[in-house]
């Protein structure tokens, strides 16, 4: 894969409310690569996804998606108008963040799966409807029957086949398991055949078998659809065997490299600022010894308390 990168990040720094979240991030992500974004809580992993979406302005540096500037100096004007700056990194999480001011400039080339709590049983909308909203939910007007509507419906069927959700896609999404919901949301994010797929802790709150199968699904789609995957992850083990590259974020800094470069004791210790042992178990799994509790000092996710 010696083609032009689908995502290029150059000397990128984000400052929120006078505090540097991370700085000096350089990375190039090629088509079809599977990249994990790792780091302690509150370090700005979700913020990195939001900068690639153009929702969170960079302080310095630039980000290009498919050669198009989506962030950094002289970026799209939308990115600069957001008044979400300074509210802390936590705003990117969950479905209820209140910033409508900044709008995505990356457009349909970038698929996005925000971090979420999941739909509860009172959400009376079917899985297929959620996928359909991913296909044409951003269009104005009533979806009238016709060629466009048929094409959208066909695309929804393809997507549901792609993630293997045919058995339950017609049930209300609130009644589905976390893994089933996640598969449908991945289908929704893939609606426009994006070249880049941004996933924010998609394995969070799934049980172990589902973590493994959703991770395998994402890896399979990354290869078969030739889509670069950037995935914020809490636990690297379910995705380790699929990874091409790792981006580590830690208080103030950022490092990118291959998994073997990234997941070493020195590297993790440097980033967390605490001695950590990373051991490789006989089955290839990584075991982190002496891993700290969540750092006590980080940006308050919930804004002013």
């Amino acid at each position: 894969m010696s083609t032009a990168p689908v995502v290029e990040v150059a000397d990128a720094t984000v400052t929120l409310g006078g505090r540097t979240i991370w700085s000096g991030l350089d990375t190039r992500i090629e088509a079809g690569e599977f990249v994990a974004i790792l780091g302690p809580n509150g370090v700005g992993k979700s913020t990195l996804l939001r900068t690639i979406l153009g929702l969170q302005p960079l302080t310095t540096g630039r980000i290009e998606v498919l050669g198009r500037r989506v962030n950094g100096t002289a970026a799209g004007t939308d990115a600069g108008t957001g008044n979400g700056n300074g509210r802390g990194t936590g705003n990117g999480r969950g479905t209820g963040n209140g910033r409508g001011g900044a709008r995505g400039v990356a457009g349909r080339d970038v698929g996005y799966l925000p971090q979420r709590q999941g739909f509860d049983a009172s959400v009376r909308i079917r899985g297929v409807d959620v996928v359909r909203l991913g296909v044409d939910g951003d269009r104005w007007g009533i979806p009238l029957p016709g060629r466009r509507s048929r094409e959208a419906a066909r695309r929804v069927d393809e997507l549901i086949d792609l993630v293997g959700a045919g058995a339950y896609a017609h049930r209300p999404i609130g009644t589905l398991s976390g893994g089933e919901q996640q598969r449908l949301l991945i289908a929704s994010a893939l609606a426009h055949r994006p070249r880049v797929l941004l996933l924010d802790e998609p394995l969070d709150s799934l049980d172990l078998p589902n973590q493994a199968s959703v991770a395998a699904l994402i890896a399979r789609i990354s290869r078969s659809e030739n889509v670069a995957v950037l995935m914020v992850a809490h636990d690297v083990n379910p995705i380790l065997r699929y990874l091409d590259r790792v981006i580590y974020l830690a208080a103030g800094g950022a490092v990118a490299g291959t998994p073997d470069e990234g997941i070493t004791s020195e590297c993790r210790s440097d980033l967390y600022g605490i001695p950590i042992e990373v051991l490789k178990a006989s089955d290839g799994r990584l075991v982190v010894v002496g891993a700290p509790e969540e750092p006590a000092v980080h940006v308050d996710r919930h804004g002013t308390a």
Binding site: G98, P114, V130, D138
Partner: protein
């Protein structure tokens, strides 16, 4: 009205009701209001903004009382106060970073203030006291043809606005972050929907009274949601339920001595119970 005898010949009964111009206007206004309330209410339930809807209806009380006190048509009071309150809630919401938690407190404050103001206007205008019950619990008497036209035109405008914005509005209600990443102006839609909700509440209040708005705004949508999880079908079913509710309630009012508010809530609640029972039966 009030206690005409039912012949159980449906054609004759309807002919009898519609021979009264006031009753005919009640059916016209009620149908318009039912369609509007069901569609807007479906979105309100989907977006979980029922408390905002309730507060907007309470705000209608001082609105209507102020209109009576000022000597203008009640409708102006409803529309002015409901839309202003919708804007207040919308601005307060968007200022609050913690959208969900901030909501309840702001809306509750508006709610309490509105009721207090309503009481003030009612006590200022002593002669108005007789109308207070109608204001709170609805009245179908005295809806003029002009009023029907105003209701219909407003409803068409609101439904037209929803037809254009409905899909992105649903998208941002279901998955806000994803919708925003696709360029959906979620915040503008938040404000826009609250204003539409305010207008709808102002319309419905004129038939159901301020306190019983939910009989047409929330109940048909909630009943429809019990029966289907498809957005299109849900909206159509809510409209059907609301229209049947209004027609049954007006008929009940005409052929009995019970007030319209009683019939509206009872019929709407009966449908809800039937739907809940049906769903339980199908599930088991």
């Amino acid at each position: 009205m009030g206690g005409a005898s039912l012949s159980w010949n449906i054609i004759d009964d309807i002919r009898l009701m519609w021979s009264l111009p006031s009753m005919l206007n009640a059916f016209r206004a009620g149908t318009v209001v039912a369609v509007l309330a069901a569609v807007v209410g479906w979105y309100m339930v989907m977006r979980r903004q029922s408390f905002a809807g309730h507060t907007l209806s309470v705000v209608g009380v001082p609105g209507a009382a102020a209109a009576v006190y000022a000597g203008v048509a009640v409708g102006y009071g409803y529309f002015t106060f409901c839309v202003l309150a919708a804007l207040v809630i919308a601005v307060a919401r968007s200022r609050s970073a913690r959208r969900v938690e901030g909501d309840g407190a702001v809306i509750g404050t508006v709610n309490a203030f509105a009721l207090a103001t309503g009481l003030l206007f009612i006590s200022l205008y002593r002669g108005f006291l007789n109308g207070t019950t109608d204001l709170l619990f609805g009245s179908v008497l005295g809806i003029t043809s002009d009023q029907v036209v105003t209701l219909a035109v407003t409803a068409v405008v609101v439904l037209g606005a929803l037809a254009v914005t409905g899909r992105p509005l649903l998208f941002s209600s279901v998955d806000r972050s994803l919708a925003v990443s696709r360029g959906v102006p979620a915040r503008a839609l938040d404000i826009g929907f609250l204003v539409l909700l305010g207008v709808a509440v102002a319309e419905v209040s004129q038939v159901t009274g301020a306190l019983l708005v939910f009989a047409l705004l929330a109940l048909p949508a909630a009943t429809a949601n019990l029966l289907t999880a498809r957005p299109g079908r849900g909206i159509l079913l809510a409209v059907l339920l609301a229209v049947v509710t209004v027609w049954a309630a007006l008929t009940g009012t005409f052929f009995s001595t019970y007030p319209v508010g009683f019939w509206l809530t009872s019929v709407a609640f009966l449908f809800y119970l039937l739907a809940a029972g049906y769903r339980r039966l199908v599930r088991s």
